[in-house]
């Protein structure tokens, strides 16, 4: 099969934008229109290709919108039960320390049901990378309240708006993990504009480089939009991200050892 580059070369065209080798071709994305999951996937795939680790990477998919993540990458994969991806990644990595093992998890998976696995993988300094998509809702199950849902935010299980009195406060995962000595690299970025996307890619690349170098546990949180369950279009969602989400979850590098 010809690559995009070969096809374009044959046609006398200069390729300026192609699919990374780490992404499957001709597999339709299952995500909703306007969702930033495909962008996050692409950034991961670009980083794997640029670091030359596609053929030795294992992706641990989680439960939620990204449950089918293994379909979209050309790397080996394991599908984990809800919240357990860091434990599954630990099992793979402890058998094959030469593999690059990363999990791809949403906020319900990582910060609610899987909080114990997340914290303990971090505390152990497990040699894995976690890509954490935080959009503040349970997307796959149709918009329920997540541990990261903002105060006042309406979801299908907080129809009057999230109340701190009843359901407590949103969890800042990066601030929490930054206290653990086992964490080597920790950053939060977002995907709402090209300048942020470039930053996010740099953070992902650094996190994977940490694992390649055997420097320990890395996590990149990517603040994402969910137009479907924020009940708005993508442009409105980008505005909400700037106005409401970023003040709650400030961007930046939390740990870099």
């Amino acid at each position: 099969m010809s690559t995009d580059t070969e096809i374009m070369n044959d046609a006398g065209l200069e390729p300026v934008y192609t699919l990374p080798e780490s992404m499957e071709r001709d597999i339709p994305m299952r995500y909703c229109p306007g969702c930033t999951h495909p962008l996050a996937h692409r950034l991961c795939a670009e980083v794997l290709e640029e670091l030359g680790i596609t053929d030795r990477t294992v992706l641990i998919a989680s439960v939620g919108c990204s449950v089918f993540a293994n379909e979209f990458f050309t790397v080996d994969g394991v599908q984990a039960s809800h919240g357990r991806a860091p434990a599954v990644a630990t099992g793979v990595k402890r058998v094959h320390p030469d593999n690059i093992v990363f999990t791809y998890q949403g906020d319900g998976d990582l910060a609610s049901i899987g909080m114990a696995e997340t914290i303990h993988a971090a505390a152990r300094g497990e040699q894995i990378t976690i890509v954490f998509l935080n959009n503040g809702v349970y997307g796959m199950t149709k918009g329920q309240m997540a541990p990261t849902t903002l105060i006042g935010q309406k979801t299908t299980t907080s129809p009057y708006g999230r109340s701190a009195e009843d359901t407590g406060y949103p969890i800042d995962v990066c601030a929490l993990l930054a206290t653990l000595p086992g964490v080597s690299y920790l950053a939060r970025e977002t995907l709402i504009a090209p300048k942020y996307v470039m930053r996010a890619k740099r953070a992902l690349k650094k996190a994977f480089q940490y694992q390649i170098d055997g420097k320990g546990f890395g996590l990149v949180e990517l603040l994402s939009i969910c137009p479907a369950w924020w009940y708005m279009d993508s442009l409105q969602a980008f505005e909400r991200m700037e106005a409401e989400v970023l003040p709650q979850y400030p961007l930046g590098t939390f740990v870099e050892k």
Binding site: D55, R56, V58, I60, A61, V67, F68, N70, F73, T74, V75, D76, G77, V78, Q79, A80, S81, R84, A87, V88, A89, T90, G91, V92, K93, R94, V95, H96, D98, N99, A116, E117, I119, H120
Partner: protein
């Protein structure tokens, strides 16, 4: 080189696993099996393996799931409440067709219960393993030697059937000491299965381990595949032992530690002239139904002795299918039968 060593059932289980080629252990402390992770934490570094204490049984079974996805010989051990927590992970192992050895040194339940010996996880092991179709191939040792031998062989069994295998002991077997004859260790290197993920790819297509089957027909196919393997195991890997009279009037069915008690009781009543035979399944799932059915044609009565309110007895009744009366004697909560008690029941049958 083989040796004869005095050890407890926990250590025998751990050493059997190492002899069977297991080099990855993930576990969590719980009485009465904590000597297994303790022993593994010492021995795994000595044999070039991996020992890791998980943050919970939930994490431990999922670490096993990840390691099993690579085709590694991996195990965890726990006791009843901990195995309850592992049920979800075991179900995912059924769904993803992953081999793993899961040791349960059963203690008294329900709830926190106590740390005494019980057999009340029979259903948990043979019927449980979480939601959905799928059952655990279950082996029940009755001696410290069998803890060693069965655990040693369980890894290849799990790989053969791409399925989790349960070694079902109890709080007494775990802690009592008997001499064990060790085996020549199996080779640590073996060809990794063609489905395993990770390791060097060398240009092979990607592999994915998953338990998602969105299309109903495909999921039904999976379940048929699992049960075809169980049917194969019922023919090729069914183990049981018999003891006592050749032409019995009574068949006593017992497994594990209860069978040790019953063996003594059979001897006691034989001295009184009663013709009793003991049938001891080693494989609890698949169940040796045909063998029990054959005996049920020949005996007048069947007695089932177990340490539960009546779990194993259901499989015996399903096998007997009304051919003769089935009497049940159960103790629970950590209370044991004495040989005299079982002999007394046999004497009154």
């Amino acid at each position: 080189m083989t040796e004869r060593i005095l050890m407890d059932g926990n250590r025998a289980t751990a050493e059997g696993a190492i002899a069977g080629g297991c080099r990855h252990f993930f576990g969590y402390p719980i009485t009465p099996q904590s000597h297994i992770p303790e022993h593994m934490s010492k021995r795994m570094p000595e044999v070039g393996g991996v020992y890791l204490q998980a943050e919970s049984e939930v994490a431990a079974i999922n670490m096993c799931y990840g390691a099993a996805a690579t085709g590694a010989k991996v195990m965890t051990s726990s006791s009843s409440p901990g195995v309850s927590l592992m049920q979800e992970g075991i179900s995912y192992m059924y769904g993803a067709e992953l081999p793993c050895v899961i040791v349960n040194m059963v203690r008294g339940g329900p709830g926190l219960g106590n740390i005494a010996a019980a057999q009340s996880d029979y259903w948990l092991s043979t019927r449980g393993g979480g939601h959905g179709d799928g059952q655990m191939i279950t082996w029940a040792p009755w001696s410290v030697q069998e803890c060693y031998d069965l655990t040693c062989e369980a890894f290849d069994l799990a790989l053969k059937y791409r399925a989790p295998v349960s070694v079902l002991g109890d709080g007494i077997l775990a802690q009592m000491m008997e001499p064990v004859v060790t085996r020549e260790p199996l080779p640590v290197e073996y060809p990794k299965p063609e489905w395993s993920v990770g390791g060097p790819r060398n240009g092979r297509p990607k592999r994915v381990i998953s338990s998602i089957y969105i299309a109903p027909e495909v999921l039904e196919d999976l379940n048929h595949r699992l049960y075809a393997r169980y049917a194969q195991a019922a023919i090729e890997d069914l183990r049981f032992e018999e003891y006592g009279a050749e032409d019995p009037d009574i068949l006593v069915c017992a497994y594990g530690i209860s069978a040790r008690v019953c063996q003594t009781a059979v001897d006691m009543v034989a001295a009184q002239g009663l013709k009793v035979r003991m049938f001891r399944p080693i494989t609890l799932f698949p169940f040796p139904s045909a063998q029990i059915a054959t005996w049920a044609e020949r005996v007048k009565q069947v007695l089932v002795v177990e340490l539960s309110m009546g779990q194993f007895v259901e499989d015996v009744r399903l096998s007997v299918e009304g051919r003769c009366p089935v009497q049940f004697s159960g103790h629970t909560g950590g209370v044991l039968h004495t040989p005299e008690e079982v002999a007394g029941i046999l004497g009154q049958m």
